[in-house]
């Protein structure tokens, strides 16, 4: 989170930035999708630059309509979801667990 709060909402978005964001979002986009997304995101972010006109320095951010507080229930055992019913929805259940491919990919 490096930029200051007066950072402008109109940086030029490049195909490289879009490719990086796609990786962060775990979306394998095709070259055509990357090109289209670059054009469309540029158009939207240009429009969204309208809020740069506003002086927001004294405004408190609002992430929720109403204040949120932790909600606790009594610490008693209640029935959970049926294990088999949950596993039946998994693409590759095995021995009561979710099977996944090895995680030794080339993550950057």
């Amino acid at each position: 989170m490096s930029p200051s709060s007066d950072a402008k909402t109109t940086p030029k978005i490049t195909a490289q930035v879009v490719a990086k964001v796609a990786h962060l979002a775990r979306l394998d986009l095709t070259e055509a999708e990357l090109a289209l997304m670059t054009t469309q995101l540029t158009g939207m972010l240009d429009h969204f630059g309208d809020i740069d006109k506003l002086d927001l320095s004294a405004v408190t951010p609002m992430a929720q309509p109403f204040p949120i507080k932790n909600v606790y229930r009594e610490d008693v055992v209640v029935p959970g979801l049926d294990r088999q019913e949950v596993l039946d929805n998994a693409p590759a259940p095995q021995d009561g667990r979710f099977r996944v491919p090895p995680s030794n990919g080339s993550e950057s």
Partner: protein
């Protein structure tokens, strides 16, 4: 509509009085589905078999003198982003195709306890992202009043199901107008309750700080009854408001005498003249019924679109991270975990969902967070402050629900930003967490219905429903 039993209240009364049965009412609705569903495509999944069994059990119970609740025998459709145990729930996305939730959403449980007969799961824009129901992975829903036009969205299937008489009422979800706009475009009543009034437990999350479930109905009284059934505190939703549901059916006859109705002094550009003419007529009707019209300003209104289209995708990009091919839904096999995630999500999500995930991920990413998401949250505060000032001088605000009547299928699909502009009047309510509803009020261009939107402050439902009932009397 073609049946005297089409309103929820009429159905309940007729079944109770022994003039008809839950099974007979259901068959009338299933017959309409048989006749027009191929053309309209309101549903992703029709539940004729379970509905018939349910209706028969209700009839047997009523015959035996058992009480079955305030909605006994009413055929109701559910937007396909609400969990139904053992029944496919797809969000109109390939990534959830075939998923059968292991639990029911709280609203589903409450409807069933009230005696409702669930007839099916309705089509939507994928993950509720859209304003026309053209973004569904399973095909477009058509407007029953003119099948060359969209029904609106994202709850287009739920609006169309009620408008076509496939169900007496339905539930939708509203993140930026997804109940009110399709209600307006299909000529039915649609309610977006105060944030936290209806439980979100079991509603597949799009943007958690904006999402609310609400009803589609033919009449204001039906909407009030539906709200009383589905509303009220739920311990399973941590954002559920901890207070009893206000009575809405009791206030409908109270009128608007002495009420102050807010009118935007500066109307945003882009509204069809016929839509504005109907809004003017609504003000005249309320004035004639004893209300006072007050000019108000919402100076931040034009910035809401930007705030919304940064906040909602940001929350969506986080909520949709759960679709990873591990626990449910689609998986595209790959050599390692990271490439499995990327391939699964690429194959499972449609173009609009990808676009919003990208926009949200960008807006939240290091280096851009303050410039986008952080600023959007501050603009959200500005509109909430605008409303607080406005509601010092008025009780409710009237606007168009949608700047236009239902538009032709395909007209706005090539330019996402044009589609986003459909939501200009509806998104401020979601940003503020307030209540709003759309009431049909005559027709505009191409003889298509126009909806008038009533905006009310948080927990302002009783006042809002009084105004809605008055508009219904005048329309």
């Amino acid at each position: 509509m073609e049946s005297e039993f089409v309103s929820v209240v009429n159905i309940v009364d007729s079944i109770r009085a022994g003039k008809t049965t839950a099974s007979a009412v259901l068959e009338q609705h299933l017959a309409r589905i048989d006749k027009r569903e191929t053309e309209i495509h309101a549903f992703n999944h029709i539940m004729s078999e379970s509905a018939r069994a349910n209706a028969a059990s209700i009839d047997a119970d009523l015959k035996a003198g058992k009480e079955r609740g305030p909605l006994a025998g009413v055929p109701i459709a559910l937007k396909d982003n609400m969990c139904t145990r053992g029944v496919p729930t797809t969000c109109s996305s390939k990534i959830l195709e075939g998923w059968k939730p292991p639990y029911d959403a709280t609203v589903v449980t409450r409807l069933q306890q009230a005696g409702a007969v669930i007839v099916g799961k309705t089509n939507l824009d994928e993950f509720a992202m859209g304003s026309s129901t053209e973004n569904s992975a399973f095909g477009t829903t058509r407007n029953p009043l003119d099948t060359s036009r969209v029904p609106g969205g994202s709850s287009g299937g739920s609006a169309a199901a009620v408008a076509a008489g496939f169900a007496a009422a339905s539930l939708g979800s509203d993140t930026g107008g997804s109940i009110r706009q399709p209600a307006a475009l299909c000529g039915v009543v649609g309610v977006k309750p105060t944030y936290g009034m209806v439980s979100r437990q079991g509603l597949v999350a799009f943007a958690s700080s904006l999402d609310q479930i609400g009803p589609f109905t033919h009449t204001v009284a039906d909407a009030a009854l539906m709200m009383e059934v589905i509303g009220g505190h739920d311990p399973l939703d941590s954002t559920s408001l901890d207070q009893p549901m206000a009575s809405l059916t009791a206030v409908l006859g109270q009128g608007v005498k002495g009420m102050r109705i807010g009118r935007l002094a500066d109307m945003p550009d882009g509204c069809e003249p016929e839509v504005l003419a109907r809004l003017d007529a609504a003000f005249v009707a309320l004035q004639a019924a004893g209300a006072t019209i007050v000019d108000i300003a919402l100076p931040s209104l034009s910035y809401c679109l930007t705030a919304y289209y940064l906040v909602a995708p940001a929350e969506a990009s986080s909520n949709l991270a759960r679709y990873d091919g591990v626990r449910y839904g689609l998986r595209v096999e790959s050599a390692d975990l990271i490439s499995m995630y990327g391939a699964t999500r690429a194959a499972g999500f449609g173009a609009e969902v990808k676009r919003r995930i990208m926009l949200g991920t960008y807006a939240l990413s290091a280096g851009y967070y303050d410039a986008y998401y952080g600023k959007a949250l501050k603009v959200r505060r500005l509109i909430a402050n605008d409303f607080a000032v406005a509601y010092q001088s008025c009780d409710v605000i009237l606007t168009p629900t949608s700047p236009t009547v239902a538009f032709p299928i395909g007209e706005k699909t090539s330019d996402p930003l044009t589609m986003y502009l459909c939501d200009i009047f509806t998104i401020p309510t979601n940003l503020a967490g307030h209540a709003a509803m759309s009431v049909p009020f005559g027709t505009g261009a191409h003889s298509m219905p126009v909806g008038v939107q009533i905006l009310a402050p948080a927990l302002g439902e009783p006042t809002m429903f009084r105004v809605a009932a008055e508009l219904e009397r005048a329309s």
